[in-house]
Amino acid sequence: MSKIRGNAAIVGTAESDLGAVAPDMSPIDLMAQGTVRALDDCGLSLKDVDGIMVAASQSRMAALSLCEYLGVNPKVFDSTQVGGSSFMAHLTHAQAAIEAGLCETVLVAYGSTQRTVGRATASSREPNPYEDPYNPMMPPSAYAMAAARHMHEFGTTREQIAEVAVAARKWAQLNPKSFMTDDLSVEDVLGARMVSHPFTVRDCCLVTDGGGAIVLTTPERAKDLKQKPAYILGTGEAITHAMISQMPDLTTTGTAISGPIAFERAGVKPADIDVLALYDAFTINVILFLEDLGYCQKGEGGAFVEGGRIAPGGELAVNTSGGGLSYCHPGMYGLLVLIEAARQIQGVCGDRQQDGVNLTLAHGNGGVLSSQCTVILGNEDTL
């Protein structure tokens, strides 16, 4: 167990406007909107914030932009940018900063207008002389090749992979903020427009605007706030590559490293977790992460998700918000993954709230399965 287990808690969470936001909104507008909503959620104010952690693909020096916009001068700031898992990494860094006495209350924020400005503008690719000649469609082609390899090595079927999208849609139908709520079947997923074989557009995350913020603070301060604290019990981080051609094994992600570190630091096991929030940029992600986190053996993830096992009413509650596949995906979705995991602890998830939630796991993914960061949250009883 880690000595910083539970030294900080998520106390406030908020989404910014999501989906298709008002014209000419900026990513920083959305961060600020999320910030004041998250502060209101917990009952703290901007003057309480002495640490700011932020990442965005549309803002190269996001901490500068956000601090200026908010008119704050925090003691600690961090713009770690490892893609969609950045915010899980921020939590680790916030825990360390709080433990070192550098700050007490940290804001983590994100904003994106990728639906408004287009994905190519929102996250332009760096030139890459070893990949550009082949014109891969990134990120879908990278994840599609991971799926193809998983199907080849383990006999995973297209239908099994599609079950992930179907489960996400069923959860999304319970979330009033979801972007897509029409009924979706395995046949619908398979019959949708092909993007990068074997993936159709329904295997791919949404392209929406959106963002939000999280406020975390010390256990002492967390006690008297409006929401129940979601204590950070353990985190783990891993980077295995940047380019998909450099990924050591397309069917095993860095989650096999980050997950065990997080479980060890938190002093809990996979079976103890009540709700999982796994970054579903693509359908295959959920299968890979369930395997790498230890919910089934490598190669058995396809069979594991069959028959609605991770859908509402199934054995394991995964992506109760509806996920990046059906709820919202503003480019670097990890912050919203964390928000759902915290809210299931707080008991504020409405129709999709699970009963008796003590422990949740938020798992972030960045790049092309490149960065993997795991966070385990718990309520007061788990301290």
Partner: protein
């Protein structure tokens, strides 16, 4: 301290491509690609350039379906010398490219004034 680099790894790679050769690097007995100034994992600058025989196996593959254009292949190729690269298998229908197929490299001219680059064709029996 290592000497100043007279040429970038990319420039040396492209000189090989101009000659029709697929270049890779070896350090401490381990082959790697893309070309670098330092060996991954060790930081060693004791690196040899080698020319691949050009034979490999498809490690994974996808067919892209751009709107309003023809589908095309993107694959990851495991070269027999022990390194992996992204490329394209060219001489068959992209949906017919399968994991495990044997392939052989061919240099093709780059677009506009860009350098030649490696693609792969089927190499049955190789």
């Amino acid at each position: 301290m290592s000497e100043p680099a007279e040429k970038s790894p990319l420039a040396i790679f492209r000189e090989h491509c101009d000659r029709g050769d697929l270049a890779y690097q070896v350090s401490g007995g381990k082959a790697f690609f893309y070309p670098r100034l330092t060996a991954p994992g060790t930081g060693s600058t004791d690196i040899d350039w080698k020319v691949s025989e050009g034979l490999g196996t498809v490690y994974s593959t996808t067919t892209l379906f751009p709107r309003g254009a023809d589908p095309y292949d993107v694959s990851l190729i495991d070269l027999d010398e022990g390194f992996r690269m992204m490329s394209r298998v060219e001489d068959i229908d992209p949906l017919e490219v399968k994991i495990g197929m044997r392939v052989k490299v061919r240099m093709i001219p780059g677009r506009d004034d860009e350098a030649p680059y490696p693609v792969f064709d089927l190499a049955e029996g190789a």
